[in-house]
Symmetry: C2
Subunit: 106 residues, 2 copies
């Protein structure tokens, strides 16, 4: 056919990943995690959202692969998984058939 390198399954995968980034709150969560790993309570205080809501968004991010969760006592530590972002950009490049390296853009 005319597919640009990505299988149907991969298409659904990156679609879901883009969906996981379709939320101001989730982007804020990711931004907060750039400072390093964090538990849920700290994020709750930092972002001023309810705990169940935060938990739900963290689940979305985890299912998309953008964060990992690790139990430590009664806390759960979340941290960024940068490779997931790199993989997404890479798949987007394949879909578009171009390079998105932004050297010389600004």
């Amino acid at each position: 056919m005319f597919d640009n390198g990505l299988s149907e399954k991969e298409l659904r995968r990156i679609t879901k990943q883009f969906g996981a980034l379709h939320s101001v709150l989730r982007l804020r969560i990711l931004a907060a995690l750039t400072a390093g790993e964090s538990n849920v309570r700290d994020l709750e205080l930092k972002l001023r959202v309810s705990q169940p809501l935060l938990s739900w968004h963290l689940t979305q991010l985890r299912q998309a692969g953008f964060v990992t969760a690790e139990r430590a006592g009664r806390e759960v530590h979340y941290r960024l998984n940068l490779d997931a972002f790199r993989g997404l950009v890479s798949n987007l490049e394949i879909t578009l058939g171009i390079s998105l390296s932004n050297q010389g853009v600004d």
Copy 2:
């Protein structure tokens, strides 16, 4: 505060952009446009979707900046706007505070 370089307005902007990519059909549209510009009728035949649906998705992509539309007679020619993708990746890098260049990933 703790913002990683992006304003509230910019956050909403890239959130919307990610939302525009949260659709298998829209990714297929973008992939189809990598071959070059196209009118709506050709995309309709290629992707086998109804014309109003296609038109709606094209509007979403245009509002997000990923495609541009140009009238040519009674046709409207759509084409990719690669700078929008580069800008999005760039903003994502700012949000995460890292570089996403995928050199050496595969």
